[in-house]
């Protein structure tokens, strides 16, 4: 009886702490949404209120009028999609070569690849910028995407995945007279969907949330991605907070929505792409 009570109290305490943490974790999002529904001057009162006095979408209207957020969103979708597709393509091919094919220098090249994973993006950003400028691609989609079309991490991830899958099916296909690339297209890729989904989602999220590169490589308003557009919006001395919160809601809603629909995949790609394999 005593032990049971103790267990109940313990559970109660755990719930209490977790709920307190939950409030802290969710509060900023709640505050963002509630503020976005307020009138422009309603937030400037000393008597704070949680709920808007009158729900209004004028903040959203001002956000969309003031800055081309739809265009930013379109740019973000386009850039992230191009990067993801290219990453998948290049990583599958490279991972397959590293995992399954023998060629001179394979170990050396792979060693250089994994060593390069330690290089921070900021160490590359100045020469990359100078290159893109020399190519005349500043402020273009090509400039926004080129440096990210392939990367050592993707190749590494796909190689590890291929190494952890059995080769018997592939060998059978080779004996049947398929070429290596046919084997890759017809046998390997259909069996690699989970790894492709992980790498794809990871790459997409990284491209979508990337800020520094789009910031330096875009000049014109029309080429900005969502992150750049959001960051450069915050410049006024007297900021229009409901408008800014509305813009932030618009920019985060698609990602949060997608996350709520496919949590398992998101958590797996973001947290485990680096540990699991």
């Amino acid at each position: 009886m005593d032990a049971r009570w103790l267990a109940k109290i313990k559970r109660g305490v755990i719930y209490l702490i977790l709920c307190a943490m939950l409030i802290v974790m969710v509060l900023p999002f709640a505050w963002m949404v509630l503020s976005s529904l307020k009138e422009e001057d309603e937030v400037f009162t000393y008597e704070m209120s949680w709920l808007p006095a009158k729900v209004t979408f004028s903040g959203y209207v001002r956000a969309l009028n003031e800055q081309p957020f739809l265009r930013y969103g379109l740019n973000s979708v386009l850039v992230s999609t191009i990067i993801t597709m290219a990453q998948l393509f290049s990583s599958v091919l490279a991972g397959y070569a590293f995992a399954r094919l023998k060629f001179p220098g394979r170990n050396l090249v792979f060693f250089i690849y994994i060593s390069a994973m330690m290089i921070p993006q900021q160490a590359l950003i100045i020469p990359s910028f100078m290159l893109i400028r020399r190519f005349g691609l500043v402020d273009t989609y090509a400039g926004l995407t080129l440096p990210f079309l392939a990367g050592p991490f993707g190749a590494f991830l796909m190689r590890s995945f291929f190494l952890s899958t059995p080769t018997s099916l592939e060998e059978a296909a080779v004996l049947d007279g398929c070429s290596r690339l046919q084997v890759l297209a017809k046998v390997v890729i259909p069996l690699s969907k989970p790894a492709l989904a992980t790498l794809g989602l990871f790459t997409f999220m990284q491209a979508w949330n990337d800020f520094m590169w789009p910031l330096i490589i875009t000049n014109s308003v029309n080429m900005r991605t969502l992150q750049v557009g959001l960051a450069l919006m915050k410049t006024d001395i007297y900021p229009d907070w409901p408008m800014m919160m509305a813009a932030t809601v618009l920019a985060t809603l698609p990602i949060i929505g997608a996350f709520l629909l496919a949590q398992k995949q998101f958590i797996e790609s973001l947290a485990f792409s680096a540990v699991k394999y």
């Binding site: 921070p120 950003i125 915050k234």
Partner: protein
């Protein structure tokens, strides 16, 4: 037989080179070449606006070490990292241990804690700027209700860096938490059961069973968090711009300013290499630490 095998090798080599080509070209142009080119640039005076460049030897590095703003940036980056990583990891571990119990709404908690991880840094930094607004922001409004006059979080040099640290801990909590949660679930139940039979207290079980068996995930989380912290940029750009009075000036923001606001590419490349070297050394150290202890 011999001839056939070498033919096969040739065919394999050709296929392999073809398959590696797209990845390798991008890798060479945008990783391998830049990393050495930035080392090269760091020994020159290069400007973004003029095409002239002159060799200056180690001067950029010498100037860097003497520059008070850079010193401040290094110090702030270290403070930021020390503020974010240990506290963040402890809180994440705490949340993971709590969530590792059989609970209702476990999924709900996990989802809520992970949501900041998927949201972009720029977006949450804007939301936090509004929450930390001194006169009408949420935090000071709540504080004034209990009779505390909150500071100008982002405008007071004393509070600006701690505010940014707080945001970063909040944003990354869920990331480390799910890593620890997975690690906790890999620990076999019967170890705890036999400890129960021996009469171990929950604290003893945590110290003698959970922590040692969680060394792998802990090491991984520590390394990733330190590397991420040393590269902090987005939240600084949005919330403080390095100010007030350089109180939130960090290495990458300094690099960004020097390169893309003052156009000093050679000097900024020296900053990039110092950052790269620091991250490299720290990664090796942490790797060794966690491997040695694990063995």
């Amino acid at each position: 037989m011999r001839a056939k095998r070498s033919n096969l090798g040739n065919e394999q080599t050709r296929t392999a080179l073809l398959a590696l080509l797209p990845s390798f070209v991008i890798f060479c142009v945008f990783t391998l070449y830049p990393v050495f080119h930035s080392l090269y640039l760091s020994f020159f005076n290069v400007s973004l606006i003029s095409s002239s460049r002159s060799f200056v030897g180690w001067n950029n590095y010498a100037a860097l070490i003497k520059n008070p703003t850079f010193q401040k940036a290094v110090l702030n980056t270290v403070i930021y990292t020390l503020g974010v990583v240990p506290v963040g990891i402890m809180l994440s571990l705490f949340a993971a241990v709590l969530l590792n119990n059989k609970l209702k709404f476990r999924g709900l908690f996990r989802t809520a804690f992970f949501t900041p991880v998927v949201t972009s840094m720029v977006a949450v930094a804007i939301v936090w700027s509004w929450m930390l607004e001194p006169n009408y922001g949420l935090i000071n409004s709540l504080l004034s209700k209990i009779g505390i006059a909150g500071p100008g979080w982002l405008t007071d040099p004393k509070w600006a860096l701690p505010s940014v640290i707080l945001l970063s801990i909040w944003k990354n909590l869920g990331y480390n938490m799910v890593i620890f949660l997975a690690g906790l679930q890999d620990i076999p139940r019967d170890i705890y059961e036999s400890a129960d039979i021996d009469g171990a207290t929950p604290v003893q079980k945590f110290i003698y069973i959970t922590l040692p068996l969680l060394r792998g995930p802990l090491g991984f989380a520590a390394i990733v968090s330190v590397i991420k912290s040393m590269q902090v940029f987005g939240q600084i750009y949005v919330m403080t711009g390095g100010g007030p009075a350089n109180s939130t000036m960090v290495i990458v923001y300094y690099l960004y300013q020097q390169a893309f606001e003052f156009y000093r590419l050679g000097y900024a490349s020296a900053v990039a290499w110092v950052l790269f070297a620091a991250i490299f050394v720290l990664t090796l150290l942490q790797n060794r630490l966690f491997r040695a202890e694990g063995a």
